[in-house]
Symmetry: C2
Subunit: 170 residues, 2 copies
């Protein structure tokens, strides 16, 4: 790895970035998550991944789905094609200790909580997807697009509810 | 605790509900989260909590905020009053093993992934709030409302981005 590499190992940091006093990756943690399944996508390497969901919708060829583990499949009852769903997933390859970040598309650094970067104290990503099909028995939900690597672990699925998920004054 | 109690201990379950083969509460887990701070609210008991964010907006008296731990405060740079923010928080009092649920307002049971119930395999709740003030040095963010218990642990803050957080066809 060279000094100018864009792939950050723990020793790498870009100009203007700030590391936290803490690195959750090496701590025991305050609570634990279980993976309920995984995202299936055409993206096998980080370099192939769309940068965000807008780009994912342009690139996706309808080959994206969620595979839910057997123990959780009864929890799919009530989901239907056409519904919007928030998915929460675990960015298992991301480091967790950079609080002030300078993404490649930005001139100046910004706080992690004002960014949707996968690098965050708890690498939980969130995306709003549209369901294209549901097979509760097989535990497969077809979705319109994803920017996530194939096999990314899933943490939760939540229905989109306009009354609470849309800004009240817009 | 009586059989008709609405507070569920691990032995309690309502008619029509189904328990998963797995109980994440007693497993080691696949990954760990660290709490980055906590929610401050007027609600000291679960019975006082608003049922959802709509009710929270009606009940809240402007006394809701987020306290962010020192190590993560540089991550607040870029947030401003008036911005909308998704907050992810850990429902630490909720059980994790019921996949088919019958909330009190529903006649028939529904899958956990079609509900916003705090009872879920990973008890991460999500709410969209409006920032009313930001003090990055003290680590305090004023918010318009919350349905969460006082001292509920925070897992993440994410900016609301209409381009990806709003259904593309609505």
């Amino acid at each position: 790895m060279t000094g100018s590499s864009v792939k950050c190992g723990p020793a790498d940091i870009r100009d203007g970035e700030i590391r936290s006093q803490r690195d959750p990756a090496v701590e025991t943690g305050d609570a634990h998550v279980v993976f309920i399944g995984r995202i299936r996508s055409p993206w096998r390497e980080r370099s192939e991944c769309p940068k965000n969901m807008r780009q994912a919708r342009e690139k996706s060829a309808g080959d994206c789905s969620l595979e839910i583990d057997e123990a959780w499949r009864p929890g799919l009852a009530g989901l239907a094609a056409g519904d919007y769903l928030h998915i929460l997933y675990w960015m298992h390859q991301a480091r967790r200790d950079i609080v002030l970040q300078r993404p490649r598309h930005r001139e100046t650094p910004a706080g992690v909580f004002s960014l949707r970067s996968p690098v965050r104290p708890n690498p939980v990503a969130m995306a709003l997807v549209r369901i294209t099909s549901v097979d509760p028995t097989a535990g497969i939900i077809g979705i319109d697009a994803t920017d996530a690597l194939d096999q990314t672990p899933l943490v939760d699925l939540k229905p989109y509810l306009p009354a609470i998920d849309h800004p009240s004054d817009r």
